[in-house]
Symmetry: C3
Subunit: 296 residues, 3 copies
């Protein structure tokens, strides 16, 4: 593994290795020291969880962290992003954690030539992919259910604009889980193979083991959205949430939109913070593998 | 001690322990290693001294530092601040150093439930409290005068909007010091018990051991202020500064407003930078105590 | 050496020591540990290479890094920059790396008195000086050519606004190199002694060993510039670049303006990234010397 761009590029072996290593970091039985590795975060979109979690992973691996700040960089002097990263590689940055609004930029960048080897890690690319989120979600589900085959997983909300949904589905399709997408027509987007689509919450939630809510991403939605209609028909509430269901959400939550605020006080909602917690171990595992592959 | 929110919440024992520990850090006879502690600064108001001083304290304790940048965080996606901090706790942040324009926010946040234990440290809350500033001022005064009982301390300037004044008075009231507040009517605010109020500089400065100037905080003043009048009657000058008085100021100084610029070249003004210096030891002591209480 | 302000202030001994030490850091035969040193970057102008390179140098020396962010500092409350830095010195910052649009500010600041010793390092001052860039360029040229006496070095572009050109010329004049400046009249500026001026690219490039392109700094140019004319007559292209010439550029490159984009794929252009790489060793050497001089 040289980069982490998309779940699609990962072999089953890669995935198993990431999960195993994350488990070892969680249990404290793996210690890695990457004191000679220099890792830069490069976030062109807002972030709290993903960025802080990567920063903590870098620190726990004892690597050196750098924050590339677009606002005060030479990109403002007209420098090409490829040239910027090529310079970072020459300066000695070994890995770049990139979040950007483009679906394809990170893939294109990762295929170019650099002065020194540099690994790209996708921290969210447009509406296309968010592989570390999918992997931490997967880790969280597997820890609870062990085997996901035949488990009913309902993904609820704005599937159309969700890189989280896309990366999760990519991963879940490999497990034999029953993947349902619940969304009003205006949030369905291009239909994905291997997924069942629902528009009725009650029917979709029947026999659900896991309910994965998505954030309504106001910043990505161009169309006019009827929030009242969405809340009325698709909000997860104390009433409609199945008693034993495992509730997930990638964060940040719009309280009172995709989830009724009081639901967050329920036992089911504890998972959401456990996702955030597990993200650190997954990101440690990925960085550890990529840096080790570079001999660092 | 679980949090540091306000001087009011501290026992005399707490205060003595903070001062003693700060003294040990200053002398270099206490070494603490908090390599497994993760501390985030979260500043919603501008800062140089307080922020840099906390960053240095974190480094000297060998803890890991994180800067939560509101501008690039998920707060911009509409996330609730409590949810943000709860996620930080899940990710592994052990302490949050918060500066905000609200008088009460930090207290409210500190009383909520979190996924993992997290300590709150007040780095300035509205016009209500700035406990680390008061403690470093106290430490600076005690080092010079040893006992503050019956010492005359004059606090000059915009008492009404000053969290520094409020926290200092809270602390000084415990010592038997004679606390005077010197301010024009428009800067008096709600009167505080145990303090004598003056409007005449000459009278207030009589027998003063310590003169503590406050910053005129243009950003907090809504009313029309007559700066000419203030400068004429309340500016500290080479002429009116008592020869032996110890001059203090929390910084940043508006040169030529609360203090005549040339005064800053005088021996009396050296204290002001000593305050900045001492802030590091006080903040090390507080972090050391809070992190140790968490077993870190 | 107490500060690094301008090449002019360096003795030949200083320069030799910087280069020698940089070479030792590059070869890995010098290890320095400045764990007790606290170094702040203070950039009032955009930067990628210089800032990241200094950050890496700080990390590799095991010193502590601080980023002073003007936007969230007390400068916004009206604090004087000298007062800010004096406070940083009191807090314990040992060195400040400053980039600013003023030609003279850093010199003035370095001559003032501070609470504790503090070293100033110029990371670019207006159009006056960029000494670490000149030193890394010099290091890069010396590694390739060993002796620069009688070498023909052509500096091309906007000499008038270039602090890089000014610092490089200052250094090259000491070596016996033949320094040529190639620029249209509107980019010549005040002529510098010891330099030959050319307006014809073909003639200037004759027998050139090194071609050092400068960035067209749109942010510093007040006058109307005819870019079409510049590109037509002064752009470095696959056609006009002498076969064996060593091509240099301080970055960031405006592709298609000072250099034809395709030239950057040629072997000659590899030097440009090597400059970025070498910058880390030069900055390590300078920091190492300044911090050691403070006993850190």
């Amino acid at each position: 593994m040289k980069h982490l761009i998309d779940i699609k590029n990962l072999t089953t072996d890669d995935i198993n290795q990431i999960l195993a290593r994350a488990g070892e970091f969680e249990k404290g039985i793996r210690k890695s020291n990457h004191i000679n590795a220099h890792v830069a975060t490069m976030f062109f979109e807002n972030s709290t969880r993903t960025k802080m979690s990567f920063e903590m992973a870098i620190n726990k691996l004892n690597a050196r962290k750098y924050d590339f700040c677009a606002q005060t960089s030479s990109l403002n002097k007209g420098e090409d992003l490829y040239d910027t990263i090529n310079n970072l590689s020459a300066i000695g940055i070994n890995a770049v954690i990139l979040r950007d609004s483009s679906d394809t930029l990170i893939k294109e960048l990762s295929e170019k030539k650099y002065y020194e080897p540099i690994s790209f890690i996708n921290a969210g690319s447009g509406i296309a992919a968010h592989p570390t989120q999918a992997l931490l979600d997967f880790y969280t589900m597997k820890k609870h259910f062990f085997d996901l085959a035949n488990r009913v997983i309902v993904i609820v909300g704005d599937i159309a604009h969700s890189r989280v949904a896309r990366s999760n589905i990519e991963l879940l399709k490999r497990t034999g889980a029953k993947i349902r997408c619940l969304a009003p027509e205006y949030f369905v987007g291009e239909k994905i193979e291997g997924v069942e689509y629902y528009t009725d919450l009650k029917i979709a939630f029947e026999e659900a083991d896991i309910i994965m809510a998505l954030r309504i991403q106001k910043e990505r939605i161009q169309e006019h959205v009827n929030f009242e209609d969405y809340i009325k028909n698709y909000q997860i509430t104390r009433e409609n949430l199945p008693y034993a269901a495992f509730l997930m959400h990638p964060g940040p939550i719009n309280r009172g939109i995709e989830i009724e605020s009081e639901v967050l006080e329920m036992q089911n909602a504890k998972t959401i913070l456990t996702q955030a917690r597990n993200g650190v171990f997954i990101r440690m595992a990925i960085l550890d593998m990529l840096l080790s592959a570079q001999g660092l």
